[in-house]
Symmetry: none
Subunit: 269 residues, 2 copies
């Protein structure tokens, strides 16, 4: 299955692929290769266990060197998602969270729509053995769930990215349809985005809102007792995460939180 | 023949995967793994260069042992295809042959139809470096062409089988329809509804939340000046209205507003 035409311009501007705490350099490399196969290029690494750069990653990338060279490194998942507006968390396990669950085809179609509207999007994948933590999934807007044989359900990082990439490439090129209708550029989503007067909030703005609200709620004792705090925080974050807030919405909500809190502080003797 | 081997009964009856003169045992193993992920089980090997059985293949199969154990060995491609009625040759290159060229989705759909009609079908893949020879392609009824980034077009055996397997699994289970056709049991809507632990909030509950919040914001001076108040209230109501809140969400939000407000009041001298 050879046939690489390096004279052809590379496709860019697609969804980012964010690997949270990947363990083996080899898996980063095979992921990069899968990205290259389907025209993805924005690889983001959060605290890779074996360090970065990685000779094992470069070797396993089988020539997708520009993705390895262009990979960006982050200390935290929050940092890696900061400039993005919409994130799919790839997870096989049921999460007790109210988020849309999408197939690869649905996620890819949604990415096309979002990107056309000016948003930056990504898929987020967790550690090889354990997958994403609940706190990482909370930061996502939707779940990416790949249907597999339940008797042998484990997909590695590169396999999951390959399948998403395949659907992404189909969705952007209109290639490969049969019984499937390729996602049209104008969908219900696009109509919804048209209604937004301002752009979708980035993850940095969302996290800023969350932390602001949580500080105030810590102060008032709402997030008490401590052993229940993590679940309460996830619950509240998920509630707002579901809303597809615009930057204006985030400003409004922070204004509300600040207003209620400022009045309280002013009166502290 | 693999189809008569009772050890391969997990999910059986799907298309066979025929590897013509594969070179590395590792690639046979990763192919077996990809087959297991999507419920394929009939693996046929034509003259594997490094011999058979292969410890490298078993290791790379990551637990898909029943496929390695059940693999059948042939001297020639003709022998491996002997009992089949319809074969797709996986190739990226143009072959100047008059054969239907299909995408993975089309090929998978066609396999479902053929198998339902009692036929035995397969995909045929060539040597890692060189792919299928023209003489091998001639034996096939159709070409399987996987759309990839032309700037990085090389897919390895396991990647090609993974993508075909993914489409096969979708076609047989009805899983994972495209964005425009979501009537499957795992459509985003259905999954989202399943995740709701409580019912959607009623309008009365929503209005209760709005009025509660607005009372507090009147109190802190946030909804000032009066001539702007109606627009600000509409804005905030729309923001929450968009969220599809559950009754539990409404209780959480009212709890937050109450907590911030109680703390504020306590501190009024």
């Amino acid at each position: 299955m050879a046939g690489t035409d390096s004279t052809q311009s590379r496709i860019s501007g697609g969804p980012a692929v964010v690997l949270a705490e990947p363990q083996l350099g080899e898996n980063i490399g095979t992921t990069a290769r899968a990205m290259a196969n389907f025209g993805l290029s924005d690889l983001r690494l959060v605290a890779p266990r074996d360090g970065w750069p990685s000779a094992a990653a470069r070797k396993a990338a089988s020539g997708a060197d520009w993705i390895i060279d262009g990979a960006t490194l982050f200390d935290t998942v929050e940092g890696a998602l900061g400039d993005l507006q919409y994130v799919f968390a790839a997870t096989a396990r049921d999460r007790d969270m109210v988020k849309p669950v999408t197939t690869p085809a649905q996620a890819a179609g949604h990415c096309v729509t979002r990107i056309a509207a000016g948003d930056k999007v990504a898929i987020l994948l967790g550690r090889e053995r354990t997958g994403l933590t609940n706190d990482q999934v909370v930061l996502a807007d939707a779940i990416l769930s790949i249907p597999v044989n339940p008797a042998f359900a484990s997909l590695n990082l590169a396999q999951a990215v390959l399948i998403f990439g395949y659907e992404w490439f189909r969705a952007t090129t209109g290639n490969g349809g049969s019984t499937d209708v390729p996602p049209s550029p104008v969908s219900a989503d696009a109509a919804m985005l048209d209604l937004y007067k301002t752009r979708r909030a980035t993850k940095i703005e969302m996290i800023g809102l969350f932390e602001h609200l949580e500080r105030e709620l810590d102060d008032t004792g709402f997030l008490y007792p401590p052993e229940k705090r993590p679940a309460m925080v996830r619950n509240i974050r998920n509630l707002f995460q579901r809303t597809e807030l615009t930057e204006q919405d985030v400003r409004t909500l922070r204004g509300i939180v600040a207003s209620l809190s400022r009045a309280r502080r002013r009166r502290i003797p």
